[in-house]
Amino acid sequence: MSKVLPAEGGLRRVIGDGHELPDGEVDLTPEQHLDLYRDLVLLRTYDERSVVYHRQGRIGTYAIFWNHEAMQAGSAFALEERDWIFPSYRESAIGLLRGLPASTVLSWWRGHPAGWWNPEKWGVASICVPIATHVPHAVGFAWGSRLKGDDRVAIAYFGDGATSEGAFHEGATFAGVFNAPAILFCNNNQWAISTPVSAQTAAATLADKAIGYGMPGVRVDGGDVLAVYEATREAVARARGGDGPTFIEAVTYRAAPHATADDPSIYIDEERVEEERENECVGRYERYLKRFDLLTDAQVEEIRAEGLELMRAGIAEAEAEPPADPGLVFEHAFADPPASFRDDLAELRRILGG
């Protein structure tokens, strides 16, 4: 049986601190715990390596998700394979949890066509770069699946800033009205680039926004992978059971730059960042698992090594991609391209060749 605890600020929590804060429990087998841990480490490794690859000039601008891994892995762990994930740039690598190759995601950040995957194959929609515009996609997908008699669920990830966008509002409104089996998962890392959540909304909490859409709003400690898992599991059950959408606000604090191009020192509270880094989500889960004797140091080593190996292979594979053919410019826009594309391509080839 699960035991979820209320925490500071009404956040749901499972993982304690090993001292005063007691641990809760969730309904996972030891193997599942290890799988979840593996997911967390995989994302962490992906993220840390990506920052290095960026510095080495091997990938372009990159949106760091350091310490967001618990939100991503915990929620995704509550899904079935047939459920769909609608990521923002912040969840660029979430497909890894479903076996999407690291080289694919790395290629995306390398601006190489090999980075654009088939959403149907992985149940992971394309990375959404504009803020919040994928919320209606997820809702439309969930609604459409229900109309088809499927029991698939869709989850959309977005940030605290995203909740100010009209697209979020319209998507959430549709979700409520059509009772869509959708989960609106808000990563509240308390910053939209340099804008703190206090300047983003006057709402007391982001979860409060759910009331306006007639759906439950749940607040959870975003650094607690098990609390995130539990909250999402409940939301998935609700959705699949025909009880409609849920808004989940997972609260954390952005402890890294917004992206590789960003310099947060201008605006962020460095002390708060330090605190957060010390209490980062992978270590928290690691210590929890060790308290329950579910994880050994040897396993930690092995899992980390696995992750590193996957990344080494991934970047090698991405870098081994043949240069993209300029002719791709004219592909994939239409099933049946207009004649003008053929002419334009011929001209381009003539000029490039000449």
Binding site: W117, N118, P119, T133, H137, A167, A333, D336
Partner: protein
């Protein structure tokens, strides 16, 4: 053949295509029980049920955004925008997603959605019920745009749009929703996208038009009957453009007037003129003239006739061209 109003032809196409393909659904504001403010979707709700003809919340970006997701779930949504100027909140979804998502999946997924809306002026309506927004759509990569000028094409182009694997936008000339019945093929009727129609053959001057400007061109041609032999090219599809038909007519007459009711700057007439300036320059026996709406806010309806291209303005352009 049946004698139908343009809006009835739209309705007919929706009935037939929804019958034919169980994945076609209609969504929009007031499309259900009311059957749309122009009655274009009348009867669908009764016939196909509330799940396939859906009244949505009042949120255009939500409609188009949800349609993207519906495509991903295997539907072919036909989205009604209630009026031209009320489609603008959805432009963001159009540009950043509708036109790009197939490309994003490297062609692995299709987005066979349709956006249809009444457009255009001359109907004595309050502000913002008169826009001709085709430029915003036609400039956007990854979407096709068609604009019928008569009931048969309204049916056939919509059917083609619904069957097309890619996003298609159809602008329906609301001015002519109910101006007259015309023959429309019964049953399935498809007018392929990308094929212009020579609405009238002539040898002296070509009038290039689409949508509500085609009947206007015809009236202008009638008025010029004694003076010149006018050819009228009804583009029907703006994107992809039937360049061959356009260039053939320009080669034949050497004189072209392009008519559009949207504001002039970067309107579709500019594109037509640019194609001619690039590919027909040696055929042209005079300037390419544009008769368009002006670069001003669409006016109060008591003076909207001064804004709209008129028979007089078209005739004047043709005469200037012939005298040039």
């Amino acid at each position: 053949m049946a004698e139908l109003l343009l809006v009835e032809a739209v309705n007919d196409a929706l009935h037939i295509e929804m019958e034919r393909d169980g994945t076609v659904m209609v969504i929009g504001e007031d499309v259900g029980r009311l059957g749309g403010v122009f009655r274009a979707t009348a009867g669908l709700h009764e016939r196909f049920g509330a799940d396939r003809c859906v009244d949505t919340p009042l949120a255009e970006a939500g409609i188009l955004g949800a349609a993207v997701g519906l495509c991903m779930a295997g539907w072919r949504p036909v989205c009604e925008m209630q009026y031209d100027a009320f489609s603008y909140p959805a432009l963001d979804q159009l540009i950043n997603h509708v036109g790009r998502y197939r490309w994003r999946t490297r062609g692995k997924m299709s987005f066979p959605l349709v956006i249809r809306m009444p457009y255009g002026g001359g109907v004595r309506a309050p502000e913002l019920h008169d826009d001709s927004p085709e430029t915003y759509y036609v400039h956007t990569p990854g979407v096709k745009v068609a604009i019928p000028s008569n009931p048969a094409d309204a049916k056939g182009l919509l059917a083609a749009a619904i069957r097309d694997p890619d996003p298609v936008v159809i602008f329906e000339p609301k001015l002519h929703y109910r101006t007259g019945k015309a023959e429309v093929p019964q049953g399935e009727h498809v007018v392929p996208l990308g094929e212009a129609r020579v609405a009238r053959e002539g040898t002296d001057v070509t009038l290039v038009a689409y949508g509500a400007m085609v009947p206007l061109a015809e009236r202008a041609a009638d008025a010029l009957d004694a003076e010149a032999s006018i050819e009228i090219v009804d583009l029907r599809t703006l994107k992809p453009l039937d360049e061959d038909a356009l260039l053939a007519s320009a080669a034949k007459t050497g004189r072209v007037v392009v008519i559009q009711e949207a504001p002039r700057t970067c309107g579709f007439a500019a594109e037509v003129a640019a194609v001619l300036a690039e590919k027909a320059i040696y055929d042209l026996q005079g300037p390419v003239l544009r008769v368009t709406g002006y670069d001003v806010p669409y006016p109060y309806w008591q003076i909207e006739d001064a804004y709209m291209p008129s028979v007089e303005r078209v005739v004047d352009a043709v005469r200037r061209l012939l005298a040039a």
